[in-house]
């Protein structure tokens, strides 16, 4: 053991270095948030609670009941019941999502050819009963009004546009720029 090593051992140099680091952190801004009081905004395209898109022209749901979302859903939590309406038109009678079984993969959003189902940025919806989290069509449309509203119509433009363009190269693609 050299003298240097002995000095280090006797004076706890490496431990003091660590303590100096933690002491210096005492005077910096904390990185933690006081969660229920202080909330962080969810990022664009966050996969939270489901909603059915309201058609701005008719005020009804955009969904036509093709059943693709139910077909792709890996946890099989979407139920669609359709019936024949007036003029032999297909009418979506019931559209239900069992939220507690959902895995939030957003495959339903990707599969829907009309952009009629979205995942909203809302994520605080714990409840005491299962029934309140069984989303019927009315509840899903209410979710749209509550958590997406007018803003929601830009949802696909902002977040899914690259997906829609993937056969051709978009004109401006994000790339590295020197900061």
């Amino acid at each position: 053991m050299t003298v240097q090593e002995l000095v280090k051992k006797v004076f706890f140099v490496e431990i003091l270095k660590g303590l100096a680091l933690t002491l210096s952190r005492l005077f910096t801004k904390p990185v933690t948030r006081r969660y229920p009081k202080e909330k962080r905004p969810a990022a664009l395209g966050f996969r939270g609670l489901h909603a059915l898109v309201r058609n701005p022209a008719t005020g009804e749901a955009k969904c036509v009941g093709c059943g693709l979302c139910a077909a792709i859903c890996p946890s099989r939590c979407i139920y669609i019941y359709t019936k024949e309406g007036p003029d032999h038109k297909k009418v979506v009678e019931r559209y239900e999502i069992e939220v507690l079984r959902c895995v939030y993969c957003a495959f339903c959003v990707e599969a829907c050819p009309f952009g009629a189902v979205v995942l909203t940025p809302h994520y605080e919806y714990s409840d005491y009963s299962r029934d309140n989290l069984y989303m019927t069509k009315e509840k899903l449309l209410q979710n749209w009004d509550k958590y997406m509203g007018e803003e929601g119509y830009n949802y696909f433009d902002k977040f899914w546009n690259p997906k829609a363009d993937h056969f051709r190269t978009p004109k401006e693609q994000p790339k590295w720029r020197k900061s």
Partner: protein
């Protein structure tokens, strides 16, 4: 009355550790036979987190089975997704475009950083050093925020797709990630200041859980657990996939094969991952992000679905029945996930669903080496050994 002399006896006691023990990193159960403080026998029991992912995937189309792979090793879900997508792509004979490859490499390395820093935090916490836990979770939060910006989910991302990735990166994401690569090496130094030379840390890790290179190979170890013993085996170098053959990085190796060397290996890997991410950002080419010439395997773009009859048919068939043009055959593709070698063995019978999917999970193989590492050691070192092989029971039990 006759007096019977009973000689004093020593007896081994059986200690049940887990499945609810906080330092078994999930639901691992170890049955230890102790002779005083020494572990005589160690028997791991796995299966408490079995969800039947392999069996479930047989009833799903190739695309649907993707979210299942998120839940294998849930702290490095992106790497699992990429591994699965690569296996299916090679089975189909399609290839992701360049830009998607670079993005995938980038997110894989982000996952490696996030997985290694959660390992560092919990491993140090188990061995009595609490501060690195708080510091490492600060950086993990940064990475999770980046994932959220990228794809809308923080943990179970489901971001890569068969034949590419789900959506393009945003400029904001790239800038923030580049800032991260500039800042992160300084943060690694902080972790090292805290524990690297700390005498308690050295006492708890040096010379513990030693496994020689030859033995490590025989036990089937992979990843940093193998490289800590000095075996230069990294799938990213030996069988490059995605863009790994176009970025420069070193494979850090240990020497002694003890807990400390494996710790050093992972710390070096953090630096190398930062290097890879930076190169990926700088070299990121322009181009499509989904395989454009594979309409029978990848979903057509949204704007075409309602305008073009053929696209609409492909869209419906792919979603309801899966890729019907899937060739018959079987394939094994291994990728280097943070824990080691993750392999997907897929048997296809030509329908849109995998006939059989078998996952070669590194955690399962690593859990089997626990008796070898623990037996003969002290009971306190069992914790160090569980930490050092870096297992996640979600992947082990599947």
């Amino acid at each position: 009355m006759e007096r019977v002399e009973k000689p004093l006896q020593t007896k081994e006691i059986t200690l049940n550790m887990g499945p609810q023990h906080p330092s078994t990193h999930g639901v691992l159960r170890l049955v230890l036979e102790l002779d005083g403080e020494t572990v005589v026998k160690c028997t791991p029991y796995v299966g408490y987190l079995h969800r039947g992912i392999e069996k479930l995937s047989e009833g799903m189309t190739y695309m649907q089975a993707l979210p299942l792979t998120d839940r294998l090793d849930y702290i490095s879900s992106m790497a699992n997704n990429v591994g699965y997508c690569l296996a299916v792509e090679r089975l189909f004979g399609i290839e992701a475009p360049e830009r998607a490859k670079f993005i995938r490499t980038m997110v894989c390395e982000m996952t490696r950083i996030s997985s290694h820093i959660i390992w560092l935090g919990t491993h140090a916490l188990d061995l009595g050093a609490m501060t690195p836990f708080l510091y490492s979770f600060r950086e993990r939060e940064w990475i999770l925020d980046l994932f959220e910006k990228l794809c809308g989910a923080r943990l179970t991302v489901s971001y890569p797709r068969i034949g590419g990735v789900r959506n393009d990166v945003s400029q904001e994401f790239l800038d923030s990630l580049y800032k991260f690569t500039e800042e992160f090496p300084r943060r690694i130094e902080e972790y090292e200041t805290l524990i690297d030379q700390n005498r308690i840390w050295l006492k708890r890790t040096k010379g513990i859980g030693v496994i020689s290179a030859e033995e490590a190979i025989n036990w089937g170890l992979t990843g940093p657990t193998l490289r800590g013993s000095g075996v230069n085996y990294d799938i990213r170098k030996k069988f490059p996939y995605d863009a790994y053959d176009r970025v420069e990085f070193d494979v850090p190796l240990g020497k002694n094969g003890d807990v400390y060397d494996r710790y050093r290996c992972r710390m070096e890997e953090l630096r190398q991952s930062t290097r890879i991410i930076r190169q990926c950002i700088e070299k990121l080419p322009e181009g499509p992000i989904m395989a454009p010439d594979a309409p029978k395997f990848t979903l057509p773009p949204k704007d075409r679905v309602l305008a073009d009859m053929e696209s609409l048919i492909h869209h419906f068939v792919l979603i309801t029945k899966g890729p019907m043009a899937a060739p018959e055959g079987e394939i094994y593709v291994a990728t280097e996930v943070p824990k080691g070698e993750l392999g997907f063995y897929i048997v296809s019978d030509g329908t849109g669903r995998p006939y059989r999917m078998r996952v070669r999970a590194p955690s399962f193989v690593h859990a089997s080496v626990l008796p070898r590492l623990c037996e003969g050691g002290l009971v306190a070192d069992v914790i160090a050994n569980i930490g050092t092989i870096d297992i996640v029971l979600g992947e082990c039990d599947r």
